[in-house]
Symmetry: C2
Subunit: 286 residues, 2 copies
């Protein structure tokens, strides 16, 4: 049975001599593959061991490159990666909020990698995923991982009964964190909280609800701007689909993957550069 | 102009002699009201000063009682609170992810309150809101506030260009954190990822997407169980509406606030006790 979350008895920081002991303790079962997972359940663990030229390790944030397309002989990227198998497993972690164990190995080129052996570095959530052209020129799938900090601050008086405290703590985590910005509200108001794809308006006890979707995402590595020409007003359903490759938008605002076109207020300029970025990174096919 | 987030030059932990200086520095403008905000923009700050018998302060988590319904003479609750004005402002913070400044005052009955004067204790997000019968017997609105921890962990090698680092950091925050649990997936699979309200299925590049909605929420103070009889399979649109009082469900599964009924698989037992909890706390009217 695949174990998601911490493995009982193996605290964060535990060190292992080699891939064999790592596997024996159930921290990362496969002896060779970097991603342990299935495309039904998601990924339970990954090993960072310097295999991919495109990986980036900032400590709390990791840009991890998917699996596949490399020559077994030279280790070089020789074909496009696909969103299948272990890559699809990591995408499911993102959509479902399943945490993944991260292990850093001695071959991994980062100042915080262990000098020898392997170290279990705790749980990360898969914050987002996308495709891009890698350094090799072939398509790679990338996953932004963010560390899950589980401890509460020290000024907590009486710890409330937390969902993290019960026996299922390792299964429970964080999913789809949305960032609302200063300009988000102005775009929602421009459309009177109506979805630009389906024109639905969500009514709640506090009034109308819509979501602001950044076309080229905020934050590294995308670093899209928080500007009105990069923001759409969407209902939650179409926001999920837009973020997870369910549809994209052509320069003439025709929808790709859905019928029809994007509704746009005349005064709302949408920058085609950001639409192109979305198509290249988040559409089903480049 | 209402300032959301930190006030420039006023770090967390700053102390103030009285409500007048608190107001002068722009940390909390009103001299008497506990909530500073408007029902268009949201709330920018609140003061905890022991006014409400129902408040709870766990440090990182605060259960805050809304405004209204108290006698000016005795200070006792003498009428129902409504989701209007400053209470509606705090509800908007929840829906939009706007952070609220929290100030603790000397009158507040918590071990971490200052002995004298007022202390700015940083930014909190409004995690959820609901109504209930207060200790007085009247309806009160309650808001679960959770502290926003802004610092990254010390093992970060090279801090990535974070959205928290630019000049708009105070506007940007976290919204609608969803918790997926062990049993969530089994309920989604039972419905083949089809929404129990509208039967829509959301298609993404990683397959079908649905959300698991806990009827009586997990975590304090609701402490609903993570069990299949407390979980629904919903599309993101109906999940938002369900969490924010857009509709509720009668014991016979008729929808309240929407046309029609909830679709249910014969083998899926939904516990009427949790439906009742939802109606009492999240429906528009008790």
């Amino acid at each position: 049975m695949r174990v998601f979350g911490h493995v009982v008895g193996i605290p964060e920081g535990s060190e292992f001599e080699n891939r064999y002991t790592l596997s024996q303790y159930g921290v990362h079962r496969p002896l060779q593959a970097g991603i342990s997972g299935s495309q039904d359940e998601g990924a339970d663990s990954i090993v960072l061991s310097g295999g991919y030229e495109d990986d980036k390790d900032y400590g709390d944030v990791i840009i991890y490159t998917g699996h596949g397309g490399r020559s077994q002989v030279t280790g070089l990227q020789v074909a496009d990666q696909k969103l299948t198998r272990q890559n699809l497993a990591l995408a499911l972690n993102c959509q479902r909020g399943t945490p993944v164990r991260v292990i850093r190995g001695y071959k991994h080129t980062s100042p915080i990698s262990p000098k020898e052996g392997y170290r279990y570095d705790g749980l990360y959530r898969v914050d987002s995923y996308w495709q891009e052209q890698g350094l090799s020129g072939f398509v790679i799938w990338r996953f932004r991982l963010e560390k899950i900090h589980e401890q509460l601050a020290t000024d907590t008086v009486e710890e409330p009964p937390s969902i993290y405290e019960n026996s299922e703590r390792i299964e429970i985590t964080i999913q789809r964190i949305m960032r609302d910005t200063k300009l988000a509200l102005s775009v929602k108001e421009m459309y009177n909280f109506e979805c630009q794809v389906c024109q639905i308006r969500i009514l709640t006890n506090a009034g109308l609800y819509a979501e602001a979707a950044h076309i080229q995402p905020l934050g590294m590595p995308h670093n899209g701007p928080d500007s009105i020409d990069n923001i759409l007003c969407l209902c939650p359903n179409h926001h999920v689909m837009f973020d997870f490759g369910g549809f994209s938008i052509a320069d003439d605002l025709t929808l790709i993957g859905l019928e029809g076109g994007l509704y746009k207020e005349p005064k709302h300029f949408i920058n085609p550069r950001y639409l192109q970025y979305h198509r290249e990174h988040f559409a089903d096919k480049i």
